[in-house]
């Protein structure tokens, strides 16, 4: 539908610009707060234009111990922890679900659909629901305060398994038959044919799962007691809870800003594959 009505154009732009402002304003305030010193941030009203302390705050936050009064890890360490956790969760989920979807779609074994539905039912059991038993298991395995403890319990994924199952079902049977005639065994077929054909779907899922992992809050909070293992998302909350002081907004906001950067890079970097993966139907 191509129409040329000035009023309509005006209104649709107005709505879109309003939307952008609503989304962007908090981020702008975060940025502005990260460029002032501690004194300015305690005065009202809060500033709306950037100040001159950006690099100072940046250095203090990233390489200092963050808050002047706490003994927490430096922010670069928390960023690293979050990054490792998010990468382990995203790649672990993808590997496990690719393999389980492969088994469910391409192999005939007893109770195949039973297993599929069992995996599917775990959709109803997110971490929050099974948090106590999961904690018990992780603690007994001695995985508290470790990257494995942070990531392994979150790796099993019914959503991703289901998605790869749908992707594999769209790949014509002839592809498998032709590979069999070519002499490819099951794992060879998996590596040479299935993985390349699901490349865009893997990328799309990676973006979603990376952000899912990055934003984990409750689970890291529960199993990390060592400040060297804290993740960035949980630390922002902790920074606000300082006793007998007003929060150091300039540092907190700089941390928040830094916490946004890796997911943004992942989204921008994989945008093209992401869109292809969600829209492509042609195999």
């Amino acid at each position: 539908m191509v129409e040329n009505r000035p009023l309509l154009t005006f209104i649709s732009h107005l709505v879109l610009i309003l939307g952008v402002v609503i989304v962007a304003l908090p981020i702008w305030i975060t940025f502005v707060a990260a460029t002032h010193d501690a004194v300015r941030m305690t005065q009202a009203p809060i500033p709306l234009l950037p100040g001159a302390h950006f690099w100072q705050n940046f250095k203090d936050t990233l390489f200092g111990s963050g808050l002047s009064s706490s003994a927490g890890a430096p922010v670069w360490r928390m960023l690293l922890n979050s990054l490792v956790m998010a990468l382990l969760i995203a790649s672990g989920k993808i590997v496990i679900s690719l393999l389980s979807a492969f088994a469910i779609v391409y192999f005939k074994f007893p109770f195949r659909m039973g297993f599929f539905w069992m995996i599917f039912i775990t959709l109803m059991l997110p971490v929050e629901v099974r948090i106590l038993p999961t904690f018990e298991v992780v603690a007994n395995l001695g995985m508290l305060n470790s990257y494995w403890g942070l990531s392994v319990p979150l790796i099993a994924s019914a959503t991703a398994t289901f998605m790869f199952r749908q992707v594999f079902l769209t790949i014509p049977d002839e592809m498998l038959e032709s590979a069999r005639i070519d002499g490819a065994g099951p794992m060879r077929f998996f590596w040479d044919i299935l993985i390349p054909l699901s490349r865009t779907n893997i990328a799309a899922l990676f973006v979603i799962l990376f952000i899912f992992g990055w934003n984990q809050y409750l689970w890291p909070l529960l199993i990390t007691t060592d400040s060297d293992m804290t993740t960035i998302v949980m630390s922002i909350k902790e920074m606000l809870e300082v006793a007998e002081q007003s929060p150091q907004w300039h540092i907190v906001m700089m941390t928040a800003l830094l916490a946004m950067i890796p997911p943004v890079f992942v989204v921008i970097g994989m945008q093209k594959l992401f869109v292809q993966g969600l829209t492509e139907t042609d195999k």
């Binding site: 002839e174 005639i181 070519d182 002499g183 054909l197």
Partner: protein, 349 residues
């Protein structure tokens, strides 16, 4: 090179038997076409020979070796699929080389074979392209190339031309035939198109409902169909079947006209091909015209046998005009008449 033997071959899914005791001998270098309507089991039979379907009963032998339990890759066959089944993420060269790579053949040898096959099929300029950048005909050639580089004992084709347009289909048909004659590889080709079957095959196996109706050369099938099904399936337009009564020397049609013909006495079904009907003022076969099709080279007259509801078609050379509702008379040479038993539908000699 290899001969193929099918011995008492049975395929069943659960309790449903879909192929019933198929026997057949395919000689080394022979081109056999399996033809039949949709659902007759022809693809299943081919896929059993390929090893993609299990064998329920009987034996498949390739080069005197029973291959029932061998994996497709170990049967030394190559297959061309209906939708080509090219790997979309690989270039044409990689597609053709994939099977060889798995067999751990040296790079130099793979390149030599791929380029040789590409030259035969004239797809050398496209070697570095992906399948989606190729037209249907080119993809078809790549699929054939993938089969050729393997240098197999048997080629299997599963309706490889059905996705092409009519003109390309005729062209590729000739090329497949030429290629097979040049390479001399035993080939089995499945199609539902009887013209394709007639032009390609040294011999045709006509399948219907999981039974072999007849297995012979195209001309045998056309001249001496062993059943009403084969008579109706081979040849276009299809053979006319007229119920009749015979007394040993004359045949009486349903509308009372008679013609000479020696066949056992009793009720018979007389088969006569549309192109064997010859205009003749006093001819015994009287057709009431209901519809005409002008094809240029010949004219098809559709209608019924006068005085009955039995539908029939006549094919006359050149342009013929007849008024709708007019009654035209035909005769037919005795050797072009076929007789079938009305109950078993088998040929009566």
């Amino acid at each position: 090179m290899a001969s193929i033997t099918l011995k008492d071959l049975v395929k069943a899914y659960g309790d449903t038997e879909v192929l019933h005791h198929i026997d057949g001998q395919i000689a080394d270098g022979e081109f056999v076409v399996i033809v039949g309507p949709s659902g007759c089991g022809k693809s299943t039979l081919l896929r059993m020979i390929a090893g993609l379907e299990t064998v329920t009963g009987g034996d498949i032998q390739i080069a005197d070796q029973v291959v029932n339990d061998l994996e497709p890759a170990d049967r030394d066959i190559a297959m061309v699929f209906q939708n080509y089944a090219l790997y979309p993420h690989m270039t044409v060269r990689e597609n053709m080389a994939y099977g060889l790579k798995i067999r751990r053949i040296s790079k130099a040898e793979i390149n030599r074979r791929v380029e040789e096959a590409a030259d035969i099929l004239e797809i050398r300029p496209y070697l570095e392209r992906k399948p989606r950048q190729l037209s249907g005909g080119q993809r078809q050639r790549v699929a054939m190339g993938r089969a050729i580089v393997r240098d197999p004992q048997v080629f299997l084709f599963d309706e490889p031309l059905s996705n092409l347009d009519a003109k390309l289909r005729v062209q590729m048909r000739l090329e497949i035939r030429k290629l097979q004659q040049k390479l001399g590889v035993t080939s089995i080709y499945v199609t539902h198109d009887q013209v394709e079957a007639m032009t390609l095959g040294d011999r045709l196996m006509v399948l219907n409902g999981g039974y072999v109706e007849q297995f012979g050369t195209p001309i045998e099938l056309y001249d001496r169909p062993q059943s009403m099904f084969v008579g109706g399936f081979i040849g276009s337009p299809a053979m006319n079947f007229l119920p009749a009564d015979a007394d040993g020397a004359t045949i009486t049609l349903a509308n009372g006209t008679t013609l000479a013909g020696e066949v056992r006495a009793g009720a018979v079904t007389m088969g006569i091909r549309p192109e064997h009907l010859i205009r003749s003022e006093a001819g015994p076969v009287r057709l009431k015209v209901q519809m005409m099709e002008q094809l240029g080279a010949n004219t098809l007259l559709h209608g019924v046998l006068e005085g009955t509801q039995t539908e029939m078609v006549a094919s006359l050379p050149g342009h013929v005009t007849a008024e709708l509702g007019a009654v035209l008379s035909f005769e037919a040479a005795a050797e072009t008449l076929h007789f079938f038993a009305p109950d078993t539908q088998k040929r009566i000699e």
